[in-house]
């Protein structure tokens, strides 16, 4: 069960907040081999690995137009309505991120600005497995479409019958994916990175996956293909005080714990009596879960940390840099302002993390494993580059000329100075 630590000193925090470590070095060699095979043999290699790992011989990887269009017929109206509502909210929030910027006249006659340009070709990876992660299709394809990416492709492994879950296909066509391929694992990442006869190469690859997928993304990134962010197991940190509702907090902790046995849950609280009531609630609620065994294994990796003050609670929270941070405390709005490191923050008793996983509108592709110290979650920004522009008038060049020439000469770059000087002489 979850481990309780009372009033640790700051020098103990690092150890307390350590993530369950998993080393993917041992599988790097086989992932390198898969990538090399896809680079060398293209579709032939994809067929080989799909037979080996997904247990099916595929003649054609691409999901046909009819299969895509009819996927919705296999879903209940209730589910389709939910997906459409989620899409609407995700769109509203991600559209607000796509802004043009004003030009700045940094000195008279020197105009500078930035413009958004879509990354032309992007690839989305959606894992297979027991739970069909159709929500992730929305989270990746909606901002890609809003950004205006010209080619949005999606790879996901099919089952042994050669099909992909219809909710994934429905979300893909609803959210604007152009092509869907039945390819999974490291071979899918390699196909999107380098292209094959069937799969076009893309410039940036997004999406979650198992250790093989993660390793493949790391390897293609070193080769120059952009990726969304480094990956790690999902996690939540809850910051609670005596005013928090123990049943709500327990439910939030369990929602995270059910993700997988390697998920991590951290509860930081200022109230000892709250710890007791929350642990009782966890025991009461966990027995009703269909994924009880997974949740219990995740809880055994997890921590309750009792601290003296809210200030200390915030400091521990920042050191942990959680993917998801839930604030169950008085003055949660004021605490929210103080948070320095987190992927996504959920404020107050009516903002459970699961609303962000599906439908509040924020993205659920977030930095795990402490990466929130340096990385943001996926947003519309993730699908664009910002190109800088500058345009100088003749006077503008005159105004800036001496500054540039003096600096260039000092750096020993005489031709840089000359490119300014020749324009002055010619006026």
């Amino acid at each position: 069960m979850i481990k309780l630590t009372k009033y640790p000193s700051p020098d103990q925090w690092e150890e307390l907040l350590a993530r369950p470590y998993s080393d993917n070095a041992p599988l790097m060699a086989s992932v390198k081999e898969i990538i090399a095979a896809v680079q060398a043999k293209g579709d032939t290699a994809l067929r080989h690995y799909t037979a080996q790992f997904d247990g099916i011989e595929l003649a054609d990887f691409q999901v046909g137009r009819a299969e895509l269009e009819q996927a919705g017929n296999l879903l209940t109206d209730e589910l389709k309505a939910a997906i459409q509502q989620a899409k609407q909210n995700i769109e509203a929030f991600h559209r607000s991120q796509h802004k043009s910027e004003d030009a700045v006249e940094t000195m008279p006659g020197v105009l500078c600005w930035r413009e958004n340009r879509a990354i032309n070709k992007v690839g989305l990876y959606i894992p297979g497995g027991t739970a069909p992660l159709f929500s992730t299709v929305l989270m990746l394809a909606i901002p890609a479409a809003l950004a205006g990416c010209a080619e949005i492709i999606l790879c996901s492994p099919c089952n042994a019958k050669g099909t992909i879950h219809p909710a994934i296909l429905y979300c893909a066509q609803l959210a604007g994916v152009h092509k869907v391929y039945k390819i999974g694992g490291a071979q899918a990442i390699a196909a999107m990175a380098y292209g094959t006869q069937t799969v076009p190469a893309v410039y940036k690859i997004f999406g979650p996956g198992n250790q093989y997928v993660t390793a493949a993304k790391q390897l293609v990134q070193v080769a120059g293909i952009a990726i969304d962010m480094p990956a790690g197991p999902s996690e939540v940190c809850v910051l609670a005080d005596a005013a928090a509702n123990p049943a709500y907090v327990a439910a939030d902790l369990l929602a995270q714990a059910e993700h997988g046995p390697d998920s991590q849950v951290v509860l930081v609280t200022t109230s000892e009596s709250f710890v007791q009531s929350c642990l009782e609630e966890i025991e009461k609620q966990v027995i009703h879960l269909t994924r009880k065994d997974i949740a219990l294994r995740a809880l055994s990796n997890s921590r309750v940390i009792l601290v003296k003050t809210m200030l200390e609670a915030v400091q521990i929270t920042d050191q942990y840099a959680a993917e998801h941070l839930i604030l169950h405390c008085e003055n949660a709005d004021e605490i929210a302002v103080q948070i320095k490191n987190a992927g996504s923050v959920f404020i107050g008793p009516y903002s459970p993390e699961s609303i962000g996983d599906y439908a509040s509108g924020t993205n659920h592709t977030l930095p795990t494993n402490g990466y929130a110290r340096a990385y943001s979650g996926v947003s519309t920004d993730s699908f664009v580059k910002k190109i800088t522009y500058q345009k100088l008038t003749k006077d503008g060049l005159n105004n800036i000329a001496k500054t540039v020439m003096v600096m260039a000469e000092e750096e020993g770059l005489q031709a840089h100075a000359a490119a300014v000087k020749i324009r002055l002489g010619n006026q």
Copy 2:
């Protein structure tokens, strides 16, 4: 000399636009060894490598306060004035990038927004060598300071006398760097990634460097430390028509070519007579350059591509995805809008690339090697994370509840649905 290709067909473009390839795989093993040594032995390893590579035994790596403060006394007033002007312009443009965003009510009672938070600890690397790249200090430290990074450190190798060029130190203290260390190469990257007794570990590492530095950045990135972007040799693409001034274009091409023998220069033009006059200008101007030999070697890697139409010229330019793109043509403003892939764009006859290298206000840390297809240059954004927040009212949760519960159940995540349901039951 630069190679001319007339009217290539689109299937020839890829080969024509290939970058000079350099494989850093052979030096990965020695870079791994350096990183492992710094991780294991800290300052002792830094001393060892500094003696070995920089030829000096250092007792203390940190540049003292007096040395930093007095660096300005070793520079001319003219240079200091130029640096201050550049700082002012860079600040004006990068300050405009640091914006707060409005919250979005995605559905009634569901409020979502993003907030900028500085990356607390950042490390800047400035190479040594013949040219002291003090301009890069400004380009990295100014946005870091504007973003509000709490700890900005800088590593740069010292010379055999144990000193760093005073212009680098002057820019560092002027732009808000907190600590400067005399450490170079892969060992500097390892020190900033993992920390030593003297050097604090940082969350993100920025800056250019040689192949060892680049390899070290790639390796620490795989280990989870963020970096600015992948690196490659500098390059320029000039798009010119018959209206362009051949002397200006030649000067711009040479300014790029003098960077290094591995720099690349591409001229795309619709005018055959322009090619002739521009090549003549290059020959005329190159003989006056102090870095003539370097420029000539870079030109031998370079290309002039003659095309039939401006449309084709833009398409080639986008396929190349240049770090720097200069538009020397009629209707340059209209062409600028059509550009999809570039790091920074220079519009019209009075906007030579060298103004962007130093002082227009845009950042000169830009994606090379075609990375502009997926990456932006450094900006204030590079020094912050954007945390998403959401806050729901009781009614907001009621409004979104069914959507979340239906989707969570379909994904098999029952505890996610339960975290919503428990709040509804309790109202």
